[in-house]
C-alpha cells in the first residue's frame, strides 16, 4: 500500500499557483486515462445524457458544469457503473478506462469501482459505524486488518479531507454524531482511504463552509499529481480554480469541452458564455 503523504504546509503556495498551473499542465503530452465514446444514458425512454464523447487525461482535473437537471450526475455515474444498480437506466456507447471498455462482458464492475472512487452529492456515512470504521470501511473490504496500517490510513485520509482536527478525539463515536458538512468530508475521506486511481466528485463542497471548501480545493490540487479527477460543480469560480479542463452540459448534450482557461475566457458557443456569465442556469 503506497500512501501519498500530503503536507498541509505546502498548500497555500499551491493555491497561489492555481491559475498558472493550468497552462503548465498542457505542455506535457498526456495520455487519456479515461474516455467516453458516444455515451448515452436513458432512463426508460427518457434521455439522461446523449452521445457524449469526452477524454479525461491522466492527472488532470475536469470540471463538469451545467444547469440543474442537465445530466451531470447521470454522466458521472456512468463512469463507475453506478447505473448498473438502477433498473430503468440503460447505457449505450463506451466508457474506456486505459483504453478498455468498462462495460465489456469480461469486466467485473466491483474491480472497476475499487479503481474509480466516488464522492456523492449528499453525505452518506454508514450510520451504525464509528467515524473511524467509516473511513477504513473500504480497506476492510479488501481484507486489510493490520491495525497500525488502518490507523495510519485513517488519519491521513481524515487530514486530506480537512476533518482530522475536528474529530481526532472522537474517532470511535458514531459517524452520525457529526454535522452535515463534517459528514460530507467524512465521505470524502472514506473515498480517499482506498486510494482510487480516478476520483469522481459530485458537488463535493455544496454543503461545506468557505473554509472547508478551500481545503477541499487544495486537496484536489495535491491529489491531481497522482490521480485523475472529474468534479461536478455549480460554482463557476470553483470550476475555474480547480480544473484544467471544463465540459459544459445542457439538457443532456455536451455543448462544449476544452481547456478551462479557454472555456472561461473565450467560449465558442453562445450557450456556454451565457451560462458562465450567469445569464441563465
Amino acid at each position: 500500500m503506497e500512501i501519498n503523504i500530503m503536507k498541509s504546509k505546502d498548500l497555500p503556495e499551491e493555491t497561489l499557483k492555481t491559475v498558472h498551473s493550468n497552462t503548465e499542465n498542457q505542455k506535457t503530452v498526456m495520455k487519456n486515462r479515461m474516455e467516453t465514446k458516444n455515451l448515452t444514458v436513458k432512463y426508460g425512454s427518457i434521455y439522461g445524457v446523449k452521445n457524449i464523447s469526452l477524454p479525461f487525461q491522466d492527472k488532470t482535473v475536469t470540471a463538469l458544469i451545467g444547469p440543474s437537471g442537465c445530466g451531470k450526475t447521470t454522466y458521472l455515474r456512468a463512469l463507475n457503473r453506478m447505473h448498473d444498480l438502477t433498473r430503468e437506466a440503460k447505457i449505450e456507447g463506451e466508457v474506456l478506462l486505459d483504453n478498455k471498455n468498462i462495460y465489456d462482458e469480461d469486466i467485473n464492475p466491483v474491480t472497476i469501482r475499487r479503481k474509480i472512487g466516488m464522492v456523492f452529492q449528499k453525505p452518506t456515512p454508514f450510520p451504525t459505524m464509528s467515524i473511524y470504521d467509516n473511513v477504513v470501511a473500504g480497506l476492510k473490504l479488501v481484507g486489510i486488518r493490520n491495525r497500525s496500517l488502518l490507523d495510519e490510513v485513517c488519519e491521513k485520509a481524515l487530514k486530506q479531507a480537512a476533518l482530522f482536527d475536528e474529530v481526532k478525539d472522537r474517532l470511535k463515536t458514531p459517524a452520525v454524531s457529526i454535522s452535515g458538512g463534517q459528514q460530507q468530508r467524512l465521505s470524502i475521506a472514506r473515498a480517499l482511504a482506498v486510494e482510487p486511481e480516478v476520483l469522481l466528485m459530485d458537488e463535493p463542497t455544496s454543503s461545506l463552509d468557505p473554509q472547508a471548501t478551500l481545503r477541499i480545493e487544495e486537496l484536489i490540487h495535491v491529489l491531481k499529481k497522482d490521480i485523475t479527477i472529474i468534479i461536478i460543480t455549480h460554482n463557476m469560480q470553483q470550476a475555474a480554480r480547480v480544473s484544467d479542463k471544463t465540459a459544459f452540459f445542457y439538457v443532456g448534450d455536451l455543448i462544449e469541452a476544452g481547456d478551462t482557461n479557454t472555456i472561461f475566457t473565450n467560449p465558442k458557443e453562445k450557450q456556454t458564455e451565457d451560462y458562465i456569465t450567469g445569464r441563465f442556469g
Binding site: M82, R113, M118, F120, K122, T124
Partner: protein
C-alpha cells in the same frame, strides 16, 4: 428567522391571507379530539381485558399468591385440586423461543434473497407464497401436522435418533422422551413454520426501507453484492429485523390451535424433547369447557392474565428495540 421578518414586515401572500376563522378554531381541535378519543378507547379496551382476566383469575391468585401461582409446579384439576402455572409457562417459553431460533435465520435468508437477489417476478412469487402460508388457518396447519408432519417426523427423524441414543447414550433417554410424534418437538417445528412468514415479511420491510444512497455508498467503495448487504443493508435494518423477530416471538407465544393439536397435552413436568407437553394457550383451550370447579376456572383465567402480561412485555420490548436500534430520528441527513 423568516417568521420574524414576516411578522414585522409588509403583508405577503401568506401572512396577508386570512384563514377561515371557523377552521382556525375547530380544525385542529376536532382532529385532536378524534385522535385522543380513538387512542384512549384502544388503551381502555386493552386495560379492560387485562382487568377482566385479573378479576376472574383473582380467586386463584388470592389462593396461591401471584408469585407462587407462577412458580407452582403441580397442575392437578382432578384429584388434589392444586393449580400452578409453571409447566405451561415453561412449555410456552421453550417452544416459542426454540421456534424463533429455528425460524429466524431461514426467514432472514428468504427476506434477503427476495429483497436483494431475486428478480422482481421471482420476488413477487416468494412474497405471495409467504403470505399464503401466513393465511392458512392454524387449525388447518394443526390437521396437516396430525396426519402428515407428525407421523413423518416420528418415522424419519425421532425414531432413528431415539434408537441411536438407546444404543449409545441410554442415559439421555429420559431427556429425549417418548417419540410418539406428538409433543414439544413437533409443536416447536410447526410453530417455527408458522412464524417464518411474519419474520420474513418484517425483515424484508426493514431491508427494503434501507435508503438507496446507503447501498450506493457501499457499492462505490467496491463492495460485492454480499458485502453491500453486510456493510450497508443489515446494519441499517437491524432495528427493524430484531423488532420483527420479537413480534414473531409474540405470535408464537399466543399461538393456540395448532399447538394444542400437536403438543400432546401433558400437564405435569418434566417435559421431554419428543414427549408431550403443554403451553399456556393450549391448556386454556383444552380445559376451559371441562372446568367445573371455580378454582380451576379461575386458575385458567389467571394463566390468561399471565399470558397477557408476557405478550405485553414482548411487544413493548419489540417497540423499545426498534426505537433503540433503528436509524433516523432526524440524526441523519
Amino acid at each position: 428567522m423568516e417568521s420574524d421578518s414576516a411578522g414585522g414586515g409588509a403583508p405577503t401572500i401568506l401572512n396577508g391571507r386570512k384563514p377561515n376563522i371557523l377552521y382556525l378554531w375547530l380544525g385542529d381541535k376536532i382532529f385532536t379530539a378524534v385522535v385522543v378519543i380513538l387512542g384512549a378507547s384502544i388503551i381502555m379496551l386493552a386495560l379492560g381485558m387485562a382487568w377482566v382476566l385479573f378479576d376472574e383469575g383473582s380467586l386463584s391468585l388470592r389462593e396461591y399468591g401471584f408469585i407462587n401461582f407462577i412458580k407452582g409446579k403441580t397442575w392437578d384439576p382432578a384429584v388434589q385440586l392444586v393449580f400452578g402455572a409453571w409447566p405451561f409457562i415453561f412449555g410456552t417459553v421453550i417452544t416459542s423461543s426454540m421456534a424463533l431460533l429455528i425460524a429466524f435465520f431461514p426467514a432472514l435468508a428468504v427476506a434477503i434473497f427476495s429483497a436483494e437477489y431475486a428478480p422482481p417476478w421471482l420476488s413477487g412469487i416468494i412474497d405471495n407464497l409467504v403470505q399464503l402460508i401466513a393465511a392458512i388457518p392454524s387449525v388447518v396447519i394443526g390437521i396437516w401436522g396430525i396426519f402428515v408432519l407428525a407421523p413423518w417426523l416420528r418415522d424419519t427423524v425421532y425414531m432413528p435418533i431415539y434408537l441411536w441414543t438407546e444404543l449409545n447414550q441410554p442415559g439421555l433417554l429420559p431427556i429425549l422422551g417418548n417419540p410418539i410424534g406428538y409433543g414439544m418437538a413437533t409443536a416447536t417445528i410447526v410453530l417455527a413454520l408458522m412464524i417464518v412468514p411474519y419474520t420474513t415479511a418484517l425483515a424484508k420491510d426493514a431491508i427494503k426501507a434501507v435508503p438507496k444512497d446507503q447501498r450506493e455508498a457501499s457499492w462505490a467503495l467496491g463492495s460485492t453484492r454480499w458485502e453491500v448487504i453486510r456493510m450497508a443493508v443489515l446494519p441499517y435494518a437491524r432495528g427493524g429485523i430484531t423488532a420483527g423477530a420479537i413480534l414473531s416471538l409474540g405470535r408464537a407465544i399466543g399461538e393456540t390451535m395448532a399447538v394444542a393439536m400437536l403438543i400432546g397435552n401433558k400437564n405435569t413436568l418434566p417435559f421431554s424433547i419428543f414427549g408431550a407437553g403443554a403451553t399456556m394457550p393450549s391448556v386454556i383451550v383444552n380445559e376451559f369447557r371441562e372446568a367445573v370447579e371455580s378454582l380451576h376456572l379461575s386458575s385458567l383465567m389467571a394463566i390468561g392474565f399471565v399470558l397477557f402480561i408476557i405478550a405485553l412485555i414482548v411487544n413493548l420490548t419489540a417497540a423499545y428495540i426498534n426505537r433503540k436500534l433503528s436509524i433516523g430520528g432526524g440524526q441523519i441527513l
